[in-house]
């Protein structure tokens, strides 16, 4: 892998009531890179996403987050967004009375109707059918997810974190999402795509694997896809949401390895 580093996560620990949800995360995302973050449910992927955007309750007690070389660990969600770091939520919020066109325009520095229409078309939604609708319960879950992706695309961020863009949408939509991610990368946006569909790694330049609250492997998408499919999938009950028991000793790498041997 080559290219300038955009995001650097160094030994980040984040506590939540009952357990640390992130335990010494290290991760690097480069400019215009599509980086896939794989992991089972409960492995800490969404917690990492929320930590990266500065969400309340996900404040690191150790470690550093650097964005374009600048320390952003203590910056607010707004300040990080204004530097070009944003998130498409796995289950996007709904907003009564807020029109889709206005919602998309919120993140744009110079809102233009053409860009809003282009963003809607990029997620396979007809602008004339959606511009005047509202971002509320009248949208289906799949429509809302597409709107969220369109809003992030319209914003032209430097780093877009997409939290499971492939969940809750129909299979036919997966190709639209892949095309959108590639388009974002071509236009200069780095993408950190969280998923537990290993096939989504096909479009990526790099991939990392999370387990037990930390990144245990980073490599090429092909390597990580094989690793994930063959070694993690069979052990979903052992890994994933089960926090690593410090008393048992050992390392996360050992957890993964022992899981493989079962």
């Amino acid at each position: 892998m080559s290219g300038d580093i955009l995001l650097q996560v160094k030994n980040v620990w984040v506590p939540r009531p009952g357990a640390d949800v992130l335990r010494g995360v290290n991760l690097t995302v480069r400019v215009s890179e599509i980086h896939v973050l794989l992991g089972l449910n409960g492995s800490g992927k969404t917690s990492l996403a929320l930590t990266l955007i500065g969400s309340e309750g996900y404040i690191p007690t150790q470690g550093h987050i650097l964005f374009d070389g600048e320390e952003i660990t203590s910056l607010s969600v707004t300040e990080r967004a204004r530097r070009g770091l944003t998130l498409a939520w796995q289950e996007p919020a709904r907003f009564e009375g807020l029109h889709i066109a206005d919602y998309l325009a919120l993140g744009m520095q110079s809102p233009k109707r053409e860009r809003i229409e282009e963003a809607l078309r990029a997620v396979a939604l007809a602008p004339q059918a959606y511009m005047g609708r509202t971002v509320d319960g009248t949208l289906s879950g799949g429509e809302r997810k597409r709107i969220e992706l369109a809003a992030v695309y319209a914003m032209r961020p430097r780093l877009a974190i997409l939290d499971e863009p492939d969940s809750g949408v129909d299979v036919l939509c997966i190709s639209d999402i892949i095309a959108l991610v590639q388009r974002m990368s071509q236009e200069g946006t780095s993408v950190l795509m969280i998923t537990h569909r290993d096939e989504m790694a096909d479009v990526a330049d790099a991939a990392s694997l999370m387990c037990g609250g930390t990144v245990v492997q980073t490599g090429t998408p092909a390597e990580m896809r094989v690793y994930f499919a063959q070694r993690c999938r069979p052990h979903e009950n052992l890994l994933g949401s089960q926090p690593w028991d410090e008393k048992a000793g050992g390392t996360y790498q050992q957890v993964v390895t022992e899981g493989i041997r079962v």
Binding site: R80, A81, W89, A93, F95, G97, L98, L106, T134, M155
Partner: protein, 336 residues
């Protein structure tokens, strides 16, 4: 009592002719039109012959325009106006009737006593703008009686603008009777300028297969007080009712929302939906009361009271808005 009854059966003389005849009338008319615009109204519509309308300032009826099938009778009282609006059976009115109520004075009382009688099978809408832009110590009392005939539909939308002083009391009381198959959609908005003191009392009795939807939106600040009491009685078989209340309060404002839905007949269905957002030292209270007198009726309610959801806030902040901007977007959307 200084009473002056006008029964208007044809369109009024044009405003330009009247202005030439009576400069005082012209000044008041222009002032209330300006205030009407502040409240979100379009003054040009009040001069359009094909749109029924009435313009009332204080206790003066400044203009009335009628269209076929819509009769508006007015009576000037000592401190207000009595208005009787009758829609003939079967009348379908293309454009909503525009009503402008207000006072440009700083102090005083305006009492509007109104009757709406919607004939069988008629369909009509009303767009009312109530404007008190200079209120310092002013009271606006409304007492409305609504009768919706069988199969008739009435849509009533009322928007208020009160200026920024908060020196106003708005006290509307309404009783509505909906006959079999009739429909009433009523929307009340007070989201621009200060609320002052608002106390809404709304009772509605719904006959068989009748439908009522009450939507109330208010945004209180400083020491504003908002009191809403809505009672929906679903008395006829298959009657349906919905109350939807959206209130935001900040600073030291207080909001109290009481909604009652009664399922009194078989297959009557009612729902109460209340959302109140609280900021600063403000206080919000919601008391839903469910009464069911028939074992085949069903009444439900939902309420969300408190701060703006963190996820909603952070979603907007992740687009670059600061927290205050995000809250404002959420509140404006909810009240919009």
């Amino acid at each position: 009592m200084n009473a002056n009854t006008n029964t208007h059966t044809t369109a009024r003389v044009s405003s330009s002719v009247l202005a030439a005849q009576n400069p005082a009338w012209a000044r008041e008319f222009q002032a209330i039109l300006k205030a009407y615009e502040q409240a979100g109204g379009r003054p040009d519509i009040l001069r359009t012959p094909r749109v029924a309308s009435a313009v009332i300032s204080g206790n003066q009826v400044l203009a009335v325009n009628m269209v076929e099938g819509v009769n508006i009778e007015t009576e000037e009282l000592a401190q207000g106006v009595r208005a009787r609006i009758t829609v003939a059976p079967g009348t379908k009115v293309a454009y909503p009737v525009h009503l402008c109520f207000g006072m440009t004075a700083e102090k005083g009382l305006q009492e509007i006593l109104s009757e709406f009688n919607i004939g069988e099978g008629a369909e009509i809408g009303f767009l009312a703008h109530c404007t008190f832009p200079n209120a310092v110590n002013l009271q606006h009392v409304m007492n409305a009686q609504i009768h919706i005939g069988p199969g008739a539909t009435m849509r009533y939308r009322e928007g208020h603008y009160h200026g920024q002083t908060g020196g106003i009391e708005v006290l509307p009381t309404t009783h509505a009777q909906i006959d079999e198959g009739g429909q009433l959609e009523s929307e009340f908005n007070l989201v621009h300028g200060r609320v002052g003191r608002l106390s809404i009392e709304f009772e509605v009795d719904v006959g068989a297969s009748g439908i009522v939807e009450l939507s109330t939106k208010a945004y209180g600040s400083e020491d504003d007080t908002i009191h809403i009491n809505e009672i929906v009685r679903l008395n006829g078989e298959k009657a349906r009712g919905l109350t939807k209340t959206r209130v935001a309060v900040r600073d030291r404002a207080v909001s109290e929302v009481y909604t009652t839905a009664e399922g009194n007949a078989p297959h009557s269905i009612g729902h109460m939906d209340c959302t109140e957002i609280v900021r600063g030292q403000a206080v919000a209270r919601n008391v839903p009361i469910v009464v069911v007198r028939n074992d085949r009726a069903r009444i439900t309610h939902e309420a969300a009271i408190g701060s703006v959801g963190r996820k909603e806030l952070e979603t907007l902040m992740a687009r670059g808005l600061n927290e205050e901007e995000a809250v404002d977007i959420i509140i404006r959307g909810m009240l919009g």
